[in-house]
């Protein structure tokens, strides 16, 4: 594509990443104020993976997400008002307040759902890809999961199934180095999780998950293969989580120094630098963008606060379709 469209593209990626960052920071503030019943898992620091990957997808493509799924939902175009309302347990939320942070989904728009079970979404993504293959729809499915999930049996069984049936699915492992507290180096005995692809005879690649361009490029290759019937790919995106695992995390398993160090590779700052260097934007424009987005996330909180609680009869609705 030509320079100007390329710049427009970059700018929209930037805005999406910033939206995720600001949304999560707002969620963190609300959580600290104890406005939520229940916990939530923030993806601050990992925005480039969600945005880079989803930017390649088309209408009709699907994703499955995880407990750390806000970024994936936003990258798939979710309405942050409905998301925030869901976290507040309001009837205006994606699940009428019945699912909460762990279960945000929007099946029509291709978000087959966050998941509270580590590894639970992996076979489901393969199933969505099977539908595409059987119906010859050319749609692909992206399956997000963390480094810790690669030690679940579901990972193994699902990748093998996707490979023997050559299904259009892209497995995206967001390796943020930690499970809840365990470092992935102590939980596997290999250098790169992407090498596990060899056990299934599919391509595996490790990308810099904090470089949105790099993420996009590798995702594009994988998506093109999948669309053309050439089967699944495993992408390992190396990234880092800034916040605690969840509300209750005291983070005794890592040092503040480590976290500060990692922030030097911040995906948003890196893109910002790039954009300024190439004179796409100036600082003032950036300030305007940030202001606009912060307005939107604050509005989301206001929307949620103003929304109604579900009626008691909602308890009994939706058990069966």
């Amino acid at each position: 594509m030509n320079v100007s469209t390329q710049n427009e593209k970059l700018k929209s990626l930037y805005e999406q990443m910033l939206m995720i960052r600001c949304f999560e920071e707002e969620v963190e503030r609300n959580m600290k104020k104890n406005l939520f019943h229940g916990t939530t898992h923030l993806c601050i620091g990992q925005e480039a993976t969600a945005v880079g990957v989803c930017s390649i997808l088309k209408q009709g493509d699907n994703i499955t997400s995880t407990h750390r799924g806000h970024g994936h939902s936003i990258a798939m175009g979710a309405d942050i008002n409905k998301m925030m309302a869901e976290l507040f347990g309001k009837v205006t939320g994606y699940s009428k307040g019945k699912g909460g942070s762990l279960h945000i989904a929007d099946v029509e728009s291709g978000n087959l759902g966050s998941n509270g079970i580590v590894g639970g979404g992996i076979p489901i993504a393969v199933g969505a890809a099977l539908t595409a293959q059987i119906e010859k729809s050319k749609h692909v499915t992206v399956c997000f999961f963390g480094d810790g999930a690669t030690n679940q049996g579901s990972f193994h069984e699902a990748l093998n199934l996707a490979s023997i049936w050559q299904l259009p699915v892209i497995f995206v492992c967001e390796n943020n180095e930690y499970g809840m507290s365990s470092h992935i180096k102590d939980m596997v005995n290999i250098e790169n999780l992407s090498s596990r692809a060899d056990a299934y005879g599919i391509p595996g690649v490790t990308v810099d998950g904090n470089d949105v361009i790099n993420v996009m490029e590798e995702t594009k290759l994988a998506v093109d293969r999948a669309r053309n019937g050439r089967g699944p790919t495993l992408i390992e995106a190396k990234t880092y989580r800034y916040s605690g695992h969840s509300k209750s995390d005291k983070q005794v398993y890592r040092t503040d120094e480590e976290v500060t160090e990692r922030k030097e590779f911040d995906p948003i700052l890196r893109l910002e630098k790039k954009m300024i260097k190439s004179c796409m934007v100036n600082n003032q424009e950036l300030q305007e963008i940030k202001y606009k987005i912060n307005q939107q996330v604050e509005a989301a909180t206001q929307f949620a606060l103003k929304s109604e609680e579900p009626e008691l009869n909602e308890l009994f609705a939706d058990v069966y379709a």
Partner: protein, 324 residues
């Protein structure tokens, strides 16, 4: 009328639904050329091809999850587990995913998934291949649980299961596969949630499930000679349960015996007994009895295996005790 075995009637239900709706497909271990663990899917690969009759690796959790994902995106998978004991490996996908998705998503998205699997003992397959764990699934909101006892019921209920927009577990029984009965050729539906009075009677209500229905009927024949009249009710579907039919019968007989093969302790018969103890209490002239499996793993020795679950003689003995 035309006779079919229980096994053939299940196969025919799948075959007819697959012809009627190309979204229906099968997935499981060795269901293709081998025809499935007990031969239920024999011939379906030839008719429908590998795309709709899919042999899977030995990956119960994985292929069940694949079925969930396929169902969530519009297909109608029918999964076969060779033995119901193996469901234990796939429960995360059944219980934490399939059963809850529609609710967790606030009524959006549905999982029209059917899981077929044979339960029960009697083949000498021992502790890991003979369990009856249907009670587990009945405890989980969002799933429906079916347990047919005759060829006729099997065909009509399986059609209902395949047409249902929710996850349905369809429990077959190894010892019933070869049993024969009248089965209409044209497709028909038996509504999920409707019990069947397999025999009318006046002295004692016997609620029996799966293989225990035929044993209860045998017992009833014997007891007739002693002028004891059993009314035998087959719930056919455990969730949803047709409480009304059971309560009406107890109202008439004043006595209840629940017979099931699963381990008595915490089996579904406990739920049935408890419902009657609460809603039918004033009808009761005698304690509610349950006949269920002993609290032991199923042994492989034939004599012990038989003694582990209710037999005709046990039903006769307990029934006599109740009416006397």
């Amino acid at each position: 009328m035309r006779k079919l075995t229980y096994l053939e009637s299940i196969r025919e239900a799948m075959q007819q639904q697959m012809r009627a709706n190309e979204k229906v497909f099968l997935l499981g271990e060795d269901i293709g050329v081998y025809g499935g663990g007990f031969g239920v899917t024999e011939g379906l690969l030839e008719e429908f091809g590998e795309n709709r009759v899919r042999d899977t690796p030995i990956s119960e959790l994985g292929f069940t999850g694949v079925a969930v994902g396929a169902a969530l995106t519009g297909l109608r998978p029918i999964v076969e587990f060779q033995f119901s004991d193996f469901i234990v490996l796939a429960l995360d996908q059944i219980v934490n995913q399939a059963a809850k998705i529609h609710y967790m998503y606030g009524g959006k998205g549905s999982v029209p998934l059917v899981i077929r699997t044979p339960g029960g003992s009697g083949t000498g397959a021992a502790a890991q291949h003979s369990q009856s764990l249907e009670a587990w699934l009945t405890h989980i909101p969002g799933i429906k649980v079916i347990q047919p006892s005759t060829p006729y019921d099997a065909k009509g209920l399986l059609k209902a299961a395949i047409d249902d927009p929710n996850p349905v577990i369809f429990y077959e029984h190894k010892l019933l596969y070869k049993t024969i009965g009248d089965v209409p050729e044209t497709p028909y539906t038996i509504p999920i949630g409707k019990a069947d009075v397999k025999k009318e009677g006046t002295d004692l209500t016997v609620v029996a499930t799966s293989i225990m229905v035929s044993r209860a009927l045998e017992a009833a024949e014997e007891l007739k000679k002693e002028n004891i009249s059993l009314e035998i009710i087959d719930p056919r579907t455990l969730v949803p349960l047709d409480e009304r039919s059971i309560l009406q019968s107890v109202k008439k007989t004043g006595r209840l015996l629940v017979v099931y093969e699963a381990v008595k302790r915490s089996g579904y018969g406990a739920e049935i007994a408890s419902i009657v103890a609460e809603k039918g209490f004033e009808y009761l002239k005698a304690p509610i009895k349950r006949l269920g499996g002993q609290a032991v793993p199923i042994p492989s020795n034939k004599k012990l295996e038989k003694a582990a679950v209710p037999q005709v003689e046990d039903i006769i003995e307990v029934a006599k005790g109740l009416v006397r």
